[in-house]
Amino acid sequence: MTKSGPKFRIPEKEEKQPRPTTEAGVLARSAEVISSGKKKTGRKPKKEPCRGITLSLPVTMIEALDDLASEKTADNRSYALIGVIRGKYKLDEKVHESE
């Protein structure tokens, strides 16, 4: 059983950095500036591939693409297809046999 009562827990120490030597350096370290900087440097969303292109594929290939998509590309069949076109992924041999 732990003893109850007032305690002082040492706060987590931040990594010690050398003192800035300019006024701009002091201001740049404020949480306000740092947080606003993060917003500006956020990653741009990637373009979705194959938007607007309709491909007619055999059912077996679509099923194989679905499997590949769920396994390697977070359920995105378009990415899976591009991967196949670029030679990054290979579809199951059974698909080719059934063609």
Partner: protein, 223 residues
């Protein structure tokens, strides 16, 4: 040359404005030409002095608002030429304005409560002070334990003070005086009063504690 004293903490709700206005009024009654400067966008210090001016039907000391961070350091130094004491209230976050004030001030009083959240947040504030010392080498930092439990048997404030003194040795001084959590502080805000003006049945404990703080300031040549 004016003594520029900032009351600042990147943590909100630790009693910065309350302490700031009472220090400014204490300087004023001690016949120092005092400027109370409100750099907090909430403008609580200005509101207090407006309430007080309405109550007294007079303006005792200069109270100005400057919430625009650009050029704030230069502005403070320029204004301080006409005064003996400049007491500055800063908003409770690590803003550009707070950093500008820290670069202009000679002393920063950092109020903190005994709560774990407040002591955890002190690390960020002490680092901001250290940064400011890069261009304002002589900046002195004092930690003031505020809103300490009023129970005389409670040891929380002592334990916190000892812990902070060890943790921030060479970076900030923990003041001996502690201000306790008392209703009079709230009353002073409502009515635009200095803590020693709040009516009390007997001797006001809050006023006594604040008087001790001012004595310690004088002894340590902060004021």
């Amino acid at each position: 040359m004016a003594k520029i004293i900032a009351v600042a903490n990147s943590k909100g709700g630790v009693g910065k404005t309350t302490i700031c206005r009472n220090i400014a009024l204490a300087c004023h009654i001690n016949k120092e030409k005092t400027l109370a400067l409100d750099c907090d966008p909430q403008k609580s210090l200005e509101k207090f002095f407006c309430t007080r001016a309405e109550r007294l039907d007079a303006i005792e000391l200069d109270c100005d608002v400057k919430t625009e961070a650009t050029g704030l350091k230069r502005d403070i130094l320029h204004r301080s030429e006409k005064f003996n004491r400049v007491i500055i209230d800063v908003g409770g976050r690590d803003s550009v304005a707070m950093r500008q004030v820290l670069m202009a001030a000679g002393v920063v009083i950092i109020p903190t409560t005994t709560g774990q959240e407040s002591t955890d947040a002190l690390e960020q504030m002490i680092n901001a002070v250290e940064d400011a010392r890069g261009v304002n080498e002589d900046l002195q930092a004092y930690i003031l334990i505020n809103m300490a439990p009023s129970d005389p048997h409670d040891t929380t404030a002592n334990i916190t003070a000892e812990g902070l003194a060890t943790l921030y040795e060479n970076r900030a001084v923990v003041l001996d005086t502690r201000l306790k959590h008392r209703k009079a502080w709230l009353q002073s805000g409502y009515d635009g009063l200095a803590i020693w003006e709040v009516p009390s049945k007997g001797e006001s404990k809050a006023a006594g504690e604040f008087e001790n703080l001012i004595k310690e300031f004088v002894k340590k040549e902060i004021l």
